[in-house]
């Protein structure tokens, strides 16, 4: 059933698929973290128009499937702009911006959990609001947010499965390619499923350990 695994060509395809998946997930989630932080700060400190814009952004990216957003980015956008852009870059951007919509929520609530007294304390020693946010609030917020963020990472990894439907060779794409040359369908998908399972479970476990180490003694967001 699984003899095809010994075929070096198939092994290569799987490896490349895994790499692309991990790449896009990682960069996407980091982009989401950065943009998400800005959105969170904007939603807390911004004026009305800023908050409205953020609300529209969040509603757009959280309101529809990532699948549709990827198609919009890869097919609609180039048509509108009359440009050819590398699909991988577009995918990375969409994943990042989509993730930012979700991460903004996590980051904002963890900031708000800390804000009140820690902002007072920061101001009282002469730090400006911005300095306090940077040196006091965010360091704490980022540690509290780790469990939610890990969740987001796993979610994003699963979402990358759509990439082969816009022509990118991720792990699912590798599976579909292998199936052109291999007659047995079930074993291929079983292997693919196991690889995802191992990767995601392993990553979660690792983040759990990191969270235990890095967490500030005494503060946790109640799950």
């Amino acid at each position: 059933m699984f003899e095809w695994l010994l075929n070096p060509m198939f092994q290569q395809m799987i490896l490349e698929g895994v790499l692309l998946t991990i790449e896009i997930t990682l960069f996407g989630v980091l982009l989401g973290l950065g943009v998400g932080t800005l959105l969170a700060i904007g939603d807390i400190y911004g004026n009305k128009p800023v908050k409205a814009a953020i609300a529209v952004y969040v509603e757009f990216f959280r309101g529809g499937p990532l699948f549709v957003q990827i198609f919009l980015a890869v097919y609609t956008l180039p048509t509108l702009l009359n440009l050819q852009i590398d699909h991988a870059i577009l995918a990375f951007l969409v994943f990042g911006l989509n993730s930012a919509g979700y991460q903004k929520g996590y980051i904002k609530s963890s900031m708000e959990a800390i804000l009140g007294d820690q902002m007072q304390a920061g101001l009282s020693v002469g730090l400006s609001k911005a300095q306090t946010v940077r040196s006091v609030i965010l360091p704490q917020a980022y540690r509290i947010v780790i469990p939610s963020w890990t969740n987001e990472f796993c979610s994003l990894t699963k979402s990358t499965a759509v990439l082969s439907y816009v022509g990118l060779m991720d792990l699912v794409g590798a599976g579909r390619s292998i199936l052109f040359r291999n007659m047995e369908i079930l074993p291929v998908w079983i292997v693919v499923a196991i690889i995802y399972l191992a990767w995601i479970t392993g990553f979660s476990k690792m983040m759990d350990i990191i969270y235990e180490k890095k967490k500030i003694p005494g503060i946790e967001l109640s799950a």
């Binding site: 007072q120 009282s124 020693v125 002469g126 730090l127 400006s128 704490q140």
Partner: protein, 279 residues
């Protein structure tokens, strides 16, 4: 015209003598209605925490503000530190008017030390980190010097054994003393303390009070909101009775403990003394 100028000069000179001054400060919480340049307040929904309060603090003064809870003492203190912005009136730090627009409040707050009732240490930093942070980021001191000054401050409040501990690993008394060190480390012009012992277990208030006593001996300028009466009697030079947003009576501790002038102060002192003697 000339007489007025001389009067102004005298006032200006006098003002520079004060470390801090509040002039006719008003602060309330609620829904204000702005009426023709004057702020009038919807009395139903509003708490008038500070009503036409003026006070002056000279270098080396140790003043204690006390009174019934909810009277607005904390708000007054926070207005002085510009952590709350007064609705009306002026706050002066030395020569500088903090309530003027365009003032760099951060720089001003760097010259004021503030100690909170609920301590508010930076939870993600150790005791050392807590004290160092402002030294590095606000006073922009180099790492070595910041560290040294922080350690000195911590030693002065006698918590050097907590240097690498996080706030959640300290007792309330230790944490509050770190809070005092954090306020001290910048060598501020004045230290404002908002009920520093109220949130602590009774056994732990002693350590904090000892620290304050030491500071008083060294001549630190302090304005304390507190109802620790024994401490007040021993250390405060002037006590200020504050009720319902106003200063009702001021005077040395002996005045309050023996024969207060106002009825409200008398009633308050009676209740307090009865409570402490019963313990």
């Amino acid at each position: 015209m000339g007489k007025q100028k001389k009067e102004e000069d005298r006032v200006v000179r006098k003002m520079a003598e004060y470390v801090m001054e509040a002039k006719h400060v008003y602060k309330s919480y609620g829904k204000p209605k702005v009426k023709k340049g004057e702020i009038s307040l919807d009395t139903k929904l509003v708490v008038e925490a500070v009503r036409d309060v003026s006070l002056q603090i000279r270098k080396g003064d140790i003043k204690l503000v006390f009174g019934p809870s909810g009277s607005g003492k904390s708000t007054l203190l926070r207005c002085l530190a510009m952590l709350d912005i007064p609705d009306k009136g002026q706050i002066y730090l030395g020569d500088e008017e903090l309530t003027k627009s365009g003032v760099d409040l951060n720089k001003a707050r760097a010259r004021i030390g503030f100690v909170f009732q609920h301590i508010y240490l930076f939870r993600h930093l150790t005791a050392l980190g807590n004290v160092e942070l402002a030294l590095r980021k606000v006073l922009k001191l180099p790492k070595e010097e910041a560290r040294k000054r922080a350690l000195d401050a911590l030693t002065e409040v006698k918590v050097s054994d907590c240097v690498s501990k996080y706030p959640s690993q300290m007792s309330g008394g230790q944490a509050q003393r770190v809070g005092i060190a954090r306020a001290l480390a910048r060598n501020p012009d004045i230290i404002l303390l908002d009920e520093p012992t109220s949130a602590l277990d009774p056994e732990l208030t002693g350590e904090v009070i000892d620290t304050l006593r030491d500071l008083a001996k060294e001549g630190t300028t302090m304005l304390i909101v507190s109802h620790e009466m024994p401490f007040a009697r021993e250390v405060a030079e002037e006590m200020i009775f504050y009720d319902e947003g106003r200063i009702l009576e001021t005077g040395p501790p002996s005045q309050f403990f023996n024969a207060p002038n106002t009825d409200r102060a008398k009633k308050f002192m009676d209740r307090i003394i009865k409570r402490t003697t019963r313990e």
